[in-house]
Amino acid sequence: MDVAHTSQKPAVPTPQTSSVSETQSALQTLSASHTQSVLQTSSVSQAQSAPQTSPTPPALEFKQLSFSYPVADDAEQVLPVIDNVSFTIDQGAFCLVCGATGAGKSTLLRLAKPGLEPAGKRTGEVRIMGKLARDFDVASSAHTVGLVMQDPKTQLVCDSVWHELAFGLENVGCEPLEMRRRVAQLSYFLGLEPLFHQRCSELSDGQAQLVALASVLVLEPSILLLDEPTSMLDPLARADFAHALFRLNRELGITVVLATHEPWALVSYASCAVSIDNGAVHKLALSNITTPHNLGISKPTAAEKASKTAQLTGAWLRYSRESPWVLRGVNLSLQSGEIHALLGANGSGKSSVLKTMAGVLKPNRGICEPQRSSWSQQNLRHGWFSRPKKAGRAKGNSEQLSTSVRQGQSTSQQPGHSASTQPGQISTSAVRQAYLPQHPELLFSGLSVAEEIAASLPHGADPSSIQSLIERLGLSALLDRDPLELSRGQRQLVAIAKVLAAQPTLLFADEPTVGLDLAARTRVAELLSEYAQAGTTMLLATHDLLLARELAHVCSLLFDGEIACTMPSEEFFERSLFFREESLS
């Protein structure tokens, strides 16, 4: 029958409870003191006839909501994204909306934000603070509901942080004095004062996401909707952001609804959870959300006759004469067929190491082997059309290359790797290299997904060899689309497909699993494992410690411009006390 739900507003703890352990114990007291039935699923008549027992209207209420995207006239009927969903979220709750990527979490959140509803067929009712969503105009929507999205950098529109914070208030015609008061108070609450005069383009991703949060909060909304806000951040930034949300929820009583595909990271902050699956919404008990401890893949066996594929010796690098040294004597070597993980905090120089080893940047001091021709060695100082230095394309280059590479090339079994030697070329061509950048869009050329992947096939390779690749990455439905219209995670998968389709012998990947949910990460890890088994050497710069532990043979930690340690990954994670995935997630 009708489950009457009673809930009390959680008692607001004192602001002194700032350390994590204290807040956790406070949380336990809170959860014991109020019933957790903030959700209910009820039938049509019951929902209409059930009396409102709570004194305050629920923050968010969905009543038999169904939504489906518009289809072209000749396409077949699509299933609704959200099908007859009814649930409520109380004021002051911290609700997690869980589900895989593409399950409909974003759609649900957008439907709760008046003014940003996607176009499509909608039936049912959405009530925000008791008022129907369609009764909100632009100003009241901004003052009641705030929305924070996934990509920190695209959400910031202004050049400086102060302008960004004041943006929302400028829009609604707030008086300058009032603007200054709100901006000042919010900056102090979130600790943004040191960033106030900085440029938005100079912020790190974590800082940018906090500024985006602040620019939404400055309008003082009662409900905060967040659409995967931490999926593109590194673990430290995630912890900061989650803690900021926690303070907002517990100290200020703002209702927080957070859609995420990694709910285990936030389970200690949340008060309730739902999951979306096949268009239906189910309540999820918080105790059922557990941290995954393995990806379920098998690590490839390292080759017995490990030969060196690439090596960086004593590399020093800086981007210009006035800027500080980014790399200070980095020593890194890659054995053939091994998966090497490069770990380190955001901004520690992982991308620089990758670019130096890939031959994109030339180290100011030190040697990078294999030697690249001066064409591919270019510092990022120049624009598109600087003249390359006089190429020293003597035959000496081929002798500089370690003979082991040529040996490794001939003895390893690689699926479908075609013979690549041509007479008269330098043998750096024996190394087929691929580089996956942090922004997957940098690999695209403006074609459709299928054409992009096909364009990176090596000469003479069988075009059908990419079919299995496409299917395993789940891109079969997207082959005709323009990759730039896809979501961030899908773009990442297209870029990975493009890079792997080239059948590289040497792969450099910069954050390959950012923005992907657990299932996609597992699939990518499986693929990488298979390619490594076939002989591809890989260097992965990542802050996904689960991936590093499960997939990599060797882990290196980059700190202060140097490699602090290089160890087999089991040993690395066994011996590390402070650098573990549990403490950082």
Partner: protein, 236 residues
């Protein structure tokens, strides 16, 4: 019916006003040359600044919608970035071509804004010069005239007309900047001197013209399609 008529008259009035404001600058330049004013540089720069400000004010007062602002902002940023990225090759600047595309697809005023903003911001990186207001005016004018050409359907006809228009626009840009230089700094001004001065800058202008024509041919279709698709999606 009267409201649409009034709206039409309103837009016609706006177009005339814009045209008048933009025409001020060459008129003043000609007057300075005719009367051989000594302080021509200062006066003409002042008029250029005022003209640009008036156009920007009228853009502001038209209260543009989001779907007019964002594509304009993005195109202006790409034009400025393109100018910086192509800087090592002198006189090959994609800005003119981008202004023409912006004007043709987004409308006259947006074309002007793309040119003016691209000039302002890219000069903020290169170092503001005495020619910033002139570059803002000249590229703004190129964008505005691109809008006029787009409305007249000139640019849809054939690649040859597009290439010719791009070449002509780049020459116009060079002409305006050279005029400022000549009328402002060459004293006293005789026709022979003026012609010599213009001819001295001709090779650079021709390179710029060819580059603009090439860019316009390369980017016209894909960019126009994408901008229109994006603008449509803004309405949702």
């Amino acid at each position: 019916m009267t409201s649409t008529e009034a709206h039409k008259r309103h837009t016609v009035a706006h177009k005339l006003l814009d045209g008048a404001v933009l025409a001020c600058v060459p008129v003043i330049l000609a007057l300075c040359a005719a009367f051989k004013l000594q302080a021509a540089a200062g006066l003409s720069t002042l008029v250029a600044i005022v003209s640009v400000l008036l156009m920007m004010t009228s853009f502001e007062r038209s209260r543009p919608a989001l779907r007019q602002i964002m594509p304009t902002v993005v195109l202006a940023a790409i034009a400025a970035a393109g100018r910086i990225l192509f800087a090592p090759i002198p006189d090959v600047k994609p800005v003119s071509a981008i202004c023409i595309v912006a004007g043709a697809v987004l409308g006259r005023r947006n074309g002007f804004m793309v040119g003016a903003l691209a000039a302002l911001i890219s000069n903020a990186f290169f170092g503001q010069g005495a020619w910033t207001p002139w570059q803002m005016y000249a590229w703004g004018l190129v964008g505005y005239l691109g809008g006029v050409a787009g409305e007249a359907g000139l640019l849809n006809q054939s690649p040859n007309t597009r290439a010719a228009w791009g070449f002509a626009s780049a020459l116009l840009y060079g002409f305006i900047l050279n005029s400022f230089h000549v009328i402002g700094f060459v004293e006293p001004l005789t026709p022979a001197a003026a012609i010599t001065a213009y001819l001295a800058g001709l090779p650079w202008d021709i390179i710029h013209g060819v580059a603009t024509a090439v860019f316009l041919l390369l980017i016209w279709e894909p960019w126009a399609m994408r901008i229109r698709a994006t603008t449509r999606r803004y309405g949702l």
